[in-house]
């Protein structure tokens, strides 16, 4: 049987990681096709609800990446994001949601190589975890019948 190909979305900031990913391209460093980037102005812009939405729409993994601490183009967006992730990650874990499927990273505009590495290692680890069926069951909005709960 063919190997499981995880669906992974990456939420990245425009100034560091998006630029870093551009550099990965310019440097022709190869990485897996599983990951698709969504461009945000800043990690501070990334709404925590979008992570749930991604899982709800069938993502098996998520990458969140932005500027290294102190390098934020907007001075502090990534610091706010970091706090948000610290709290949110704790909540997800407490809810039994698999945070191993979420990779947080700082990738600067100069770190094209690191970006490829983040992508490939995340694809690898999520592939090992397999499809996120538990969540897909919950999110299966078309089939799940709602009894008198």
């Amino acid at each position: 049987m063919t190997e499981f190909e995880p669906k992974i979305v990456a939420f990245v900031c425009n100034w560091c990681t998006y630029a870093g990913a551009d550099l990965t391209g310019t440097s022709r460093i190869k990485y897996a096709t599983n990951v698709k980037l969504v461009r945000f102005p800043c990690t501070g812009r990334i709404d925590f609800m979008l992570l749930l939405k991604a899982f709800g729409e069938g993502a098996d993994g998520i990458i969140i990446s932005g500027c290294h601490p102190n390098d934020c183009h907007y001075t502090s967006g990534n610091f706010h994001a970091r706090r948000r992730w610290i709290m949110f990650r704790g909540l997800l874990n407490f809810l039994g949601i698999d945070t191993r499927r979420i990779q947080f990273s700082w990738v600067s505009a100069a770190e094209g190589g690191k970006w490829a590495d983040i992508v490939n290692s995340t694809v690898k680890s999520v592939r090992e975890l397999g499809p996120y069926n538990d969540y897909k069951k919950v999110a299966d909005f078309l089939e799940t019948e709602v009894t008198n709960g």
């Binding site: 391209g25 729409e57 069938g58 993502a59 390098d71 183009h73 967006g77 948000r84």
Partner: protein, 666 residues
């Protein structure tokens, strides 16, 4: 219902080699709300842009998706093209199928599928794009130049000569930088000081230039056209308005044992000093750290001897706030010291020196008045060895890059030595000779052929002292790597050029990015070499990468033109990518409940309080309001707002949401 056009670029072979562009265009054409789609070899070319414009007219498109390279590359191109065709530029988006797809994947079904997903994502985004109008902001026509080396001097003069105000900030007591330290300059061997000092004086006297020496940038706020810079003017302890620069003070100063920075430590200076005779301004400062009075509370000799009564010990650092419209960063570089090289004796051998120290020895204004003499005993060296690539191009030393100037100045040094010590023998150990540049190769050949400098291709493994001589052990790779040993009197290391220490902090103050070696990063390696990622902040000289003088100067003039261009208008338009608080009909007025947690989250203090009043002036509701002048569009407030009352134009909640939906629902 929107009518969207999708334009898929081959980028020559760059995209079409790995992505089935025809298929992408065809599938895109079948997407909902897509009225038109095509693929073309070079979308960004003149005819390519024409195709977009024609389609906008023919199919009266309400949105455009150009599926090509990174928006960081060509978004402006296609937005302009769309605008020229009568479509609001902000209704045009780019799907990045080159940097994020064709260049990072092999040709395969998956690669094409991914490209299609990226296009679908942007089609969804465009659906929710709204026509936006650029924001007009006034421009403060004053430039701040940080660093008074040749690059800073050149850029300041060029900007000032365009009729704009310039503030030149230099952290040392005098401008001049490295160039002031040099003896002669390659490839013409004309005297560095002689060509530099007139420029320095011009700076000091220029009506449009305010010179702030012994000063540093404290902080920077604001945005292009409207920055506010805080500058710390370090206390000079000397009132320059009174000082005549007579020199009595430094002649009388008792603490004379301070290594002179200008002479690269080959000579000492006093605590109250000017760095060098031609310093600008040619008035002293007191180096508090080394001044007896500041250390012990006693002395005050300089004050006693100062006829002008200019000495003021209790002067304090002063912080001035200056509105500026643009910045040019020209903070330059520094060279590694000999102590960086265990194999060459960790800097413990007095007669192993750096290229910069040799410049001082060779300089008429230097400690030896231009005679080449050994620091240890002042003897004229009979045999001298120059080692190129000392640290440079050396992974192990963490400096894999080429320092660029060493090959040339080493040739120059050897030449100068031969000119001054006719009986002397000079050797140059090198890896490769890099002499690209006008008259550079000829210059090196002159050194070898006319001045009989011995070039040895190979690295020096070790240098050690043996009865007054320096034993240089190396190999000659052109002689099959046979060992070479030279008993030298002096060894000169062409030590690597590295970024200034503290450049990281400066970058963070300026919010510009820097590369792995802490050199400041240009916005584009080829097409935006003097711009940074932060609009309004430009680069010139060796703070971006090692450079020689002509390069630094031309880059400085380039940056100056960018600034002058910006200042040629009275107001500029800014991207309307800013946050807005929703408004709705009474009695709600907005879903904002005025908790103002966004206020603390905003890095720019752009969130204000707006009171909604009835006819009698009673406050009905207080809500958040975004000041469009201050908002930079980071969107931190948006992700933070519990009621989703604040949203950011161009990256709205609906857009980000539907992008995710589109990506995951093929």
């Amino acid at each position: 219902m929107s009518r969207i056009g999708v334009f898929v670029c081959h980028c020559g072979e760059n995209i079409s080699a790995t992505v089935d562009v025809e298929k992408v265009a065809q599938v895109a054409g079948e997407m909902g709300d897509v009225a038109f789609s095509l693929d073309y070899k070079y979308m960004c070319s003149e005819p390519g842009q024409a195709l977009v414009q024609q389609a906008i007219k023919d199919h009266n498109l309400t949105g455009v998706v150009v599926s090509a390279c990174s928006p960081r590359m060509h978004e402006p191109t296609f937005r302009k093209a769309s605008a020229d065709a009568g479509l609001n530029p902000y209704m045009c988006e780019m799907a990045n199928i080159r940097e994020h797809c064709s260049w990072v994947h092999e040709r395969s079904e998956e690669t094409t599928e991914k490209a299609i997903d990226l296009v679908r994502m942007m089609v969804e985004k465009v659906k929710y794009d709204k026509p936006l109008e650029p924001i007009k902001v006034p421009i403060t026509k004053t430039a701040l130049v940080i660093g008074g080396g040749i690059a800073g001097i050149q850029t300041s003069l060029d900007i000032a000569n365009c009729g704009h105000k310039v503030i030149l900030v230099e952290k040392e007591p005098s401008i001049g930088g490295h160039m002031a330290q040099l003896s002669e300059t390659f490839p013409t061997l004309d005297c560095s000081q002689c060509i530099l000092s007139p420029r320095m004086v011009e700076v000091a006297q220029h009506p449009n230039i305010t010179l702030m020496t012994y000063s540093e940038l404290e902080s920077l706020e604001g945005y292009i056209g409207n920055f506010t810079a805080k500058i710390r003017k370090k206390a000079k302890s000397v009132d320059h308005s009174k000082c005549t620069g007579c020199g009595d003070c430094w002649n009388k100063c008792p603490s004379k044992k301070i290594p002179s920075e200008f002479n690269a430590g080959l000579e000492n200076r006093t605590a109250i000093y000017t760095p060098f005779p031609q310093a600008v301004p040619n008035k002293p400062v007191i180096d508090k750290a080394n001044c007896t009075y500041y250390k012990t509370g006693k002395c005050k000799i300089c004050e006693k001897f100062c006829k002008a009564g200019a000495i003021e010990y209790d002067l304090e650092d002063e912080i001035v706030e200056i509105p500026v419209g643009a910045l040019v960063i020209t903070t330059g570089f520094q060279v590694k010291g000999t102590d960086f090289f265990p194999e060459y004796g960790y800097g413990q051998y007095k007669d192993v020196i750096t290229g910069l120290q040799f410049e001082r020895l060779a300089s008429a204004s230097g400690p030896t008045l231009g005679e080449i003499r050994r620091p240890s005993d002042g003897k004229v060296p009979e045999k001298i060895v120059f080692i190129a690539c000392a640290g440079s191009r050396d992974e192990a030393k963490g400096i894999p890059y080429c320092s660029k100037i060493c090959c040339m100045y080493t040739a120059k040094h050897a030449m100068l030595y031969q000119h001054k010590v006719h009986t002397g023998k000079s050797y140059v150990f090198y890896m490769d000779i890099r002499s690209g540049g006008k008259n550079y190769e000829e210059f090196v050949r002159r050194a070898i052929e006319e001045d009989k400098v011995n070039y040895v291709r190979g690295r020096v493994s070790t240098v050690y002292e043996k009865n007054g001589k320096l034993i240089v052990k190396g190999a000659d790779t052109l002689m099959g790597g046979q060992p070479v040993e030279i008993e030298a009197d002096m060894v000169v290391l062409a030590t690597a050029s590295v970024s200034r220490c503290g450049s990281e902090d400066l970058a963070q103050k300026l919010h510009i990015s820097y590369d792995a070696y802490k050199f400041f990063a240009e916005a584009h390696p080829k097409l935006k070499p003097v711009e940074t990622n932060t609009a309004g902040i430009f680069l010139a000289g060796a703070c971006q990468a090692p450079k020689d003088i002509p390069e630094s100067v031309s880059m400085a003039s380039g940056a100056a033109v960018k600034v002058a261009g910006l200042f040629s208008k009275d107001e500029m338009s800014r991207e309307p990518i800013i946050a807005v608080v929703n408004r709705m009909a009474p009695p709600q007025f907005s879903s904002c409940v005025g908790c103002f947690l966004c206020q603390t989250a905003c890095p720019y203090n752009a969130i204000e309080r707006e009171e909604i009043k009835d006819r009698n002036g009673n406050v009905l509701k207080t809500l958040a309001k975004v000041n469009p002048g201050l908002c930079q569009g980071c969107g931190t407030c948006v992700a933070f707002c519990r009621t989703k009352s604040i949203d950011i134009q161009g990256f709205t909640n609906e857009q980000m949401y539907s992008e995710v939906m589109a990506l995951l629902n093929a």
